[in-house]
Subunit: 462 residues, 4 copies
């Protein structure tokens, strides 16, 4: 890596999960728009074919008219090749396939347990964690070996356990986890401002927030537009829309009816607890007792959100594979439009080019005084040259502390269980989940079934 | 109060709830056995008749052959009279009557929610808290006014919220809450030692334990008999008895089939989490998700414990009233046998006569680093002349942190709601309870019903 | 205050000490350059004449060609007038006159105690604190009464005790203390980069630092230019210049031979402790044991700095008064050049116009884990809409902890003594000062003398 | 080790420094009086002859009429022999000889630095630490290897750094440091009670105290006799005796004019700071700035204490050697009288025979919230079966925090320097000492001289 007059060139990024047909393309687009940065992206994926295609797709971007910065893409065979000399490591993997996810999400339905996403918490989140954590142990060990000074950005879910695993294996790792869910809530606050006060044009960045919680269950304890406290405005908004819901469509970028929500869960949680829940409703619902918003499909619908079936994900994957094919063959051109993700801006900050304060997942060193030290939490942090330092966020509000501390503890316990290859302790974590309201015997049957269903990815536990 | 050669005399104890027909008689018995201490007990009760009877019953104890120490009992009309000049204040009250408790315990059954005790947590515990907290606000204010230097011992449930209320109203109060549940577990450890190792005669005090948690959901993270670590022994014991249960009868002092348990919940929790749950099974079950041990009556029975119906309590009260009558009339003589409670020993320590380390409920100043500062927690503490200082207990074990932190937070929230006279916030606490697995609509109906049922004692909320 | 398309107008600033002939003019200049902000500055000063002159001087700035933003200045008779409705409060006062400062700085010399500044620590700093704290009690009370929502920026020394006093009197005050000393060290790091590596043009803001400590005794535990760790570079620089000193002249803005230093103290401290001392040498020396750098004048000179005599300050004041006269009469034009201070940028951030991370003095809520909670410390903080939140800075390095914790404690004790009007406790703080190596009897004599010398400003202690 | 009906037998104690002619004889005496405990003491000493003599002396005690418990003594050649299978390890060594101590104590006098003891802090304490820490690294490594489960009691000075070293090398060590200095202050409080209130017969144990600080600079923040707060009584006592001193002779056990003090330092510190300094005046003086009580010999005398010359220690050693000879030859009989030390009681507690709360030196896990976590501090702790848990002591009082935190930090830094074999960092610690008020050049000369003087014991630093 070398600095230029206005930025940096020859940056090396290692992309673990580089065959991805979602995040990878987003990153390619954001990098192509970053005129002050250039370099190479080394794509590593256990699906080598996918990585190879992305190499080709990525390299074609240079030819696009809108491309402001030419990056080289290279698919590599080993993590070693990808990591050696890397300035940044990006991790976005899929632990297992949608077949495993099908079990994660749908197996519990036979027992009356419904999950809207199934990738973070709930029985599905736990099974996914069991598959993912051993992989992240490997990543951390490889990073320690090949690029201990690199900054590591994780996008993989379940976010909290992934980041925690990286730090448990390699305590000096410079890693953090990124998630755009808070951004969505900032946008909603902007819409509330317009709806209630008639003030238009507030950008996401103009909505200043204080973030406290854990990933996908983050809370805003302050939200401000210029000198306006947004809490009373949001209260009015919540009272207006809680029952019928707000908005016909979600952010175009992620739009799909299975991701859609009418924000009713978010508004309900605010009116209950006085703090602003800052994640998508489908995620938020999974952190609450199952009987509240996820009792059954009708309950979910009555709260304005849908359960995302894995069949849909499989269908969607087919579309993405087809698009990959078209992009690869040059039948379709990649478009360059900023994703709204902050990965590239974070790199810029870590390179010392421009500071940034944004929300991030890292171990608690006191930024949230009433959660355990060392637990991975989400708050704002200051990104600067070679440093990410948390901003003091204050305690989890008393009214949501019971919900947040509980899941925070379950996530810690899950990492303990997985790293100890202890399926029994994992079962105890499974039973504690807010969405798991089964009796102990049924819980055992379900757990065993889910472990069996995904046994191919759990061999290290035997 | 004056010191004598071997002890102290002229001690003044104020007893709030002094008409009690259980705790009060126990205290009378323990005081009569305390040959190094004497003085007066001022009995205050809203049931003046009951206090008057206890005055008479108490004063008769001086005539008993076994009486080693003569105490004067005096029923008084006002808290002011009881408190002015008091060295100690004992609080053991019944918030409301068994009619209210009937609603607390049995109203939820219509919704499939079963409670084994219903006085600490669960829907019943919450309703009881709503009645109790405003009373404790009054007690704290009166203590601040009439005897700010007195030591205050609370026996009333729900323990955690009672103690918290005292400290919130009068932060400099010298108060703590006492509970004998840990003692029962120490005794069980003694029995395990005998059963597994054939070692007989270990007294409760010989079983040294480290206590961490909240009242009725306390955990032992160390248990030692001489140089023996009791954990492996208890594991063997737990494996032997978890399925069928241990013991035919519980401690004689509290014996009744409705208080009986076969310790299976306790043993199950140990095998799950590796820490020793240290309260009666009927209490422990209520802190766990309702579907585990309290799904229905059969489930409870299969785990070796019974639900205590309030009808039984009413029957039992009749017996105690009858006994009160006989004692009062001199038809029956009070017996002096030590109850096993430590209240009198604690007073002795606070007077500077003999130090004591025992478990107690006080605000967290760091004795449990992973629970919020200020929350009322249960750990060991050092009792010495005019001081109670917590012993560092260490963190709640990771495996039970999700369960403990959750209820710890709910208790804090309950005090907030009750002191703010905010029935809506109280409802949010109600919904978060581990034993409350209803949908939000049913929860609301149940809550409203329970509030209505006990409205007579909730007038301050309107 | 109202927002405009690009900024805000009608901002009200209350300036306590508004007759100042240094800071006030600097602020006027910075405000005149802030094209996105406009409004009024209310000048309050016990020297009403001085405030009136500044009103006139300030209002003339509108006529300057370079003026980008017209601000109105108005001298007022009472704090109430200044504060009512204020969005911001700026405090920069002189507690007492240079006659008092003459005693502060020079009285100790008779006992062999030399002070290079005498306004923060040392016997002089303590006496100044005793005069200042009661004034700040009044300010805090007035702010609570007239503008509790305003943001308060303090520039007055002794910084730490001023900020602490504001928070002790009015715990919900939104106050912080600003100091440019860290900036000077950032500039020096830029010069070291040039000197050692030949890299030119690094701006102060490009030198990213992590700040930890207390005002005027702050330390950098990380310093980065782009991806370069500046510590090895600064080590080389320190070894090169420690003995003979670096630089012929200091920053022009503050240039005067009595403020001059050759940076040797700073370099020596770095080589000793491995952390970068980040304040002027004249300040740093006063926080170390007196025998090190301030044994006598020669010692100071041998370390490349001069003691600033108050006679020089008096002379300088005359010049400033003369300049004030010329400015007032229009014989001289004020020049608009940015001072390098960040006050205006901080206001911009607090208005929600642009975020900023910079160093600031506020109470410790955990940003420095090994200093007492509540003590006023200096670290980076995130300035955003209506919020200043500390960035986690980490512990004071072990090697400087003994020096820093000591003075941190003395400052806390000084506030305690002054707010309790306890001259005896203040004497104990006086005796603990690092620069006070007198025997107890001499210390007493000196203290009494200094108290007497400044008795006019200490009447509240009698 | 085996338990008996009333106690334990076959206890194995390893004594490192077992040739000691002070502590060892005291322990022998205390063990002989402990009728519920018996076993063997393995004496290891680099002076094998001394250990062999103590073996003989110890074994003779069985024949004494007053002997209640027969212990076997055995001198061994290696630490391995001593430690293997040990239940307890006692460490009381002399690091170097009195020749080295002569340099420690008297070399600084040429520079006007006087030390009353010179074994804990000051230039002498630091040099002693540099010799001792590497030895304790070896002890810790050997304990980890041969008896990781043993309880380790350290009596060696400098206490704080010894205990810290044990924990840094072997973090799971079960070690604590014991010191009787607090006991002396408890006795003095008893004497004050008699002197001021005419209350006789209070035993040391009857004076309940809360202890906070670091070894030899501990403070009592509460002191109670029965229900009497001793603070106002001690204040009266302090006012009466501060100027002329109290008492003609010290505790007989330690009586010698060179250990004598008239308690004036202690009383002065109390009147200054409102907390009770709880160590001997000779120690206390060394933790304060040198100019206060140790400016010169006259100053010391005027404060009622003497400097202990090493020549006296050498003379005293001769007497002890002669006594050793007589004891060894049977020309003198050992006497059994309890020393007042608590080592044997602590062992009893750790064996689970009887609980004890007493003061002890262990790493800070929150018992003193305003000192750094992990620093070795002195507070009360609860001794029970196989556990020592600190009692929450609260913060160091604000008024002594500057003095205490400073030395606490210096001790941490000293361990860092010694374990890193970094004589330069050790010099920085040397310069920070409160009793070191030299200029930097003189400090360097003195330091080099002292290092040279004791080079024989500092070879590992080259």
């Amino acid at each position: 890596m070398r600095y230029t007059d206005n930025g940096a060139e020859d940056i090396k990024i290692a992309y673990i999960g580089g065959g991805s047909r979602g995040w990878a393309w987003g990153l390619m687009s954001d990098l192509a728009a970053a005129q002050d940065m250039s370099g190479s992206v080394f794509l590593y994926d256990i699906d080598r074919e996918a990585a190879a295609r992305n190499e080709c797709i990525g390299n074609k971007m240079k030819d696009l008219k809108e491309c402001r910065s030419a990056w080289n893409y290279k698919a590599v065979e080993t993590m070693k090749e990808a990591l050696t000399g890397a300035d940044f490591v990006v991790i976005s993997i899929m632990p297992g396939t949608f077949d495993e996810m099908e079990s994660d999400v749908h197996a519990p339905e036979k027992f009356g347990i419904y999950q809207s996403v199934g990738d973070t918490t709930g029985p599905g989140g736990l099974m996914r964690a069991l598959r993912t954590i051993p992989m992240f142990e490997e990543f951390a060990a490889a990073i320690r070996k090949y690029c201990p000074q690199a900054w590591v950005i994780n996008y993989t879910n379940p976010m909290t356990v992934c980041v925690k695993t990286l730090y448990r294996v390699f305590p000096k790792i410079k890693a953090f986890g990124c998630c755009h869910e808070v951004f969505g809530t900032q946008k909603l606050l902007g819409l509330a401002l317009e709806d209630i006060k008639g003030i238009q044009g507030a950008q996401r960045e103009d909505i200043r927030v204080n973030v406290v919680g854990i990933n996908h269950f983050t809370w805003l304890t302050a939200a401000q537009y210029k000198n306006m406290d947004l809490f009373p405005i949001y209260r009015e908004f919540a009272l207006k829309y809680r029952d019928e819901g707000f908005g016909e469509k979600a952010d175009e970028n992620w739009l799909n009816r299975f991701f859609d929500s009418r924000e009713q869960v978010k508004l309900d949680l605010f009116l209950k607890y006085g703090a602003i829940a800052a994640a998508g409703d489908r995620h938020l619902a999974e952190f609450c007792p199952g009987s509240w918003y996820l009792k059954d499909e009708e309950t979910a619908h009555s709260w304005g959100f849908k359960l995302t079936p894995v069949s849909w994900r499989k269908e969607d994957l087919k579309n993405r594979l087809a698009r990959s094919e078209r992009l690869y063959k040059g039948e379709e051109e990649m478009t360059i439009n900023q994703t709204g993700e902050e990965g590239v801006q974070q790199m810029r900050s870590l390179l010392g080019l421009r500071d940034l304060v944004t929300n991030v997942n890292i171990p608690n060193c006191g930024q949230i005084p009433n959660l355990p030290l060392g637990a991975v939490v989400e708050t704002n942090a200051h990104f600067s040259a070679d440093s990410v330092r948390p901003v003091f966020a204050g305690p989890v509000p008393q009214s949501v502390y019971p919900l947040v501390s509980r899941v925070c503890g379950i996530q810690e316990m899950t990492v303990e269980a997985a790293m100890g290859r202890d399926l029994e302790l994992a079962f105890q974590a499974f039973c504690m989940d807010p969405n798991m309201e089964l009796g102990l015997k049924d819980a055992r049957i379900l757990y065993n079934t889910m472990v069996e269903n995904t046994a191919k990815y759990l061999t290290m536990y035997q």
